[in-house]
Symmetry: C2
Subunit: 426 residues, 2 copies
């Protein structure tokens, strides 16, 4: 007789902290987030509990600490910590991302008696892979659309972030396209203000992209920022981009929400470049929120193709090891290679971080390397800036120190002279 | 000559914490979130800055503290704190909620050199009122739909949270309807799993609601939970509810995101009852995230009608004073009385909290009072449970101590006997 099929479960790992009893609080989460309420109610039979109840399947104690993560808890002794696995029956949750979030990821943060809670693991059953579209382009599609193989896709951002009118933006874009960059994006903060509507921006920029393609055969990928709280507006803007011959868009995923992303993806023929603006609030305190490895799965299932994850030596708070972990997360299959997405290293980048980026991310060139000022503020102009970044990556892949490679590559040399003060690996 | 029109601005108040210089970090936020980048770039003219730059308009120092809110910061001295007002030109942002979020609310959390950041104030210009639908029903509409005036709308929740099949749910609903409750809702965790699809639930429940209306003239408001990451699915489910004669829906707002809410609201003819599952992660640590007074404005503009905000003496972590502040927030006009929404007090409620709720929220009965176990686990059954809650509110409004009122109201007396141990005001 065949053994019974194991029931399909969603496994969530919570990093709990309490001055009370870890096992009791773990059991409370499992109960509260499935069947429980504060008093016994009619109908809560053992049979029903078996059908839908979440179960604590592992408790892995961690070292206690002296201080609670959240000041609300006046701990009078050591603060206990543990990683706790809780399994939710797939039948009780289904594969809806909003259901998953409400039941297994969000609700637990309201529970009393905790002084810290972070969700550090999420393992989904295969049904999630079947029921969600996943990335439409991902790594392979981004390479195909840009025509860049065997090295990182080199990107840049139009700066200043806000304030340029479409023709001013277009003039900068012309310089960048002629500089032979592979990818250009709107700043995540530039959406469709009165002085630069997305439609006008598309109208000013796309002819430059297409003209350059005509002349050189190279189509620079331009990601227009179509972020809006209104999914229909995003689709309208999407269609404007497609009609004008564009092939990519920026979405500030936190700001559009799951609903916006799902609606857009269903209609999208653009590579969707995810910016995480606002994500830090969910991850910056290590005793609260989510590991990126958890969060990014949801957005990949919903259809992100390219994921901004900061980089080495960024101008923001995020430490290098967090970037390295994020890089691994977005390139590790959830269910198959097709759901891997293109990691985008950005923020304060110039060629200087190439060697360390390469070394610490598994010696791959499957990434986008996004330099703002690092390209446009190069002393020799943007074209020299792009060349310098490519040279830095050539050196990195060949294990040649940048300073040595710079002896025969003046663009890189100029770049080191200008930006090297802040480099970790020049 | 008339004085020039003051430019319209969005004002955000950030509660900053740093071991560095408050004024410098405030200026950095203003710069980073509008025009800035890490090196000077071509095109960033003074004229452009004047057009779109955010400006620090006030710095109100707070007492320093010894410990940083976030452990990443190894403070070597007092941690400085201040409330800082930054004004963003409306022209630079527009009225899109995702733009507002990306530019003014989300991005600042990534900035280096902070050891704490919480957004504690948001003042929007009138254009936001014109460009967003706001609540369709709010307080007046919720009263009209339920036919309840001059006292709180008494609601309950079908429990257990998960696991009941539609006919099992319907049997409980029949009891609750016959108990003369005004409002019933699905648990926020029950969406549309295989064992209880929303369609089947509507099919089982609405005939009971309508039958009761036929017999008594009273239409109990049932809020079906149509939360989904897929806005079109929500609208499909919305239409099923409408077609069956329903008039309300639960949405887990954090899980559907701004996009889901905007899409649904545009097509909705139901009262939208907002559950905040997951919100706690954004507010529980006082040195991180958002005050509810900020967050709730966005959802009201997008169209929430009824807002769950916990209550007095809840089973969750949230302290009473936070509930009181939330109550004031959702009932204070943003632009006009029409954008006020119905506060929903819930979690661990029974009649016992009525006097304190009434006293601390401006002696109003314009609220929904939601009791789960507090109604269904009443020793005399749900009908006695509903009567007991109404009696508690009668006593509260008349300033009669519950214990005194219970002498002549046996349902309330039974309620006190069963639940009074956990009451703050019985």
């Amino acid at each position: 007789m065949p053994s019974p099929q194991p029931r399909e479960v969603i496994r969530v790992t919570y990093r709990l902290e309490t001055s009370g009893d870890i096992a009791a609080i773990a059991a409370k989460i499992a109960s509260d987030q499935s069947t429980g309420t504060f008093v016994d109610v009619p109908g809560e039979t053992p049979e029903l509990k078996a059908r839908v109840a979440a179960r604590v399947t592992a408790v892995r104690p961690l070292a206690s600490v002296d201080r609670p993560s959240w000041p609300e808890a006046c701990a009078t002794g050591p603060v206990r910590r543990a990683d706790v696995d809780i399994e939710f029956p797939l039948d009780a949750v289904g594969t809806d991302i909003a259901a998953l979030t409400t039941i297994a990821l969000g609700g637990a943060f309201s529970i009393k008696g905790l002084s810290g809670l972070r969700i550090v693991g999420l393992t989904l059953p295969a049904a999630f892979g079947r029921d969600h579209p996943g990335p439409q382009f991902g790594i392979a599609g981004s390479r195909r659309l840009t025509g860049v193989y065997d090295r990182p896709i080199i990107g840049t951002i139009v700066k200043p972030a806000l304030g340029l009118r479409p023709l001013e933006t277009a003039a900068l874009v012309r310089d960048l396209v002629e500089a032979d960059v592979d990818f250009i994006k709107d700043d995540e903060k530039l959406m469709s203000p009165a002085y630069s509507s997305l439609e006008d921006r598309v109208g000013a920029i796309m002819p430059i992209i297409l003209d350059h393609e005509q002349k050189t055969g190279k189509k620079v990928m331009y990601a227009f920022n179509l972020t809006s709280h209104d999914p229909e507006r995003m689709v309208r803007d999407h269609d404007i981009i497609v009609k004008a011959g564009g092939n990519a868009a920026v979405v500030a995923i936190q700001s559009i929400g799951f609903g916006g992303m799902a609606f857009l993806r269903k209609r999208s023929s653009l590579a969707l470049h995810a910016h995480r603006a606002g994500w830090d609030v969910l991850t910056r305190h290590p005793g609260l929120g989510f590991d990126f490895a958890v969060y990014q799965q949801l957005w990949r299932l919903l259809g992100v193709d390219q994921f901004q994850i900061n980089g080495i030596g960024v101008k923001y708070w995020e430490p290098d090891e967090s970037f390295v972990a994020s890089f691994e997360a977005v390139t590790t299959p959830i269910f198959s290679d097709a759901d891997r997405v293109l990691p985008v290293a950005g923020s304060g980048q110039w060629g200087g971080q190439a060697p360390e980026t390469y070394r610490r991310t598994g010696r791959t060139v499957d990434l986008m390397y996004l330099c703002g000022g690092g390209i446009v503020s190069h002393p020799g102009g943007p074209a020299a800036g792009v060349r310098a970044v490519r040279q830095a990556w050539e050196a990195a892949v060949a294990d040649i120190p940048l300073a040595v490679y710079a002896e025969t590559h003046p663009d890189l040399a100029q770049s080191i002279a200008k930006f090297g003060g802040s480099a970790k690996d020049a």
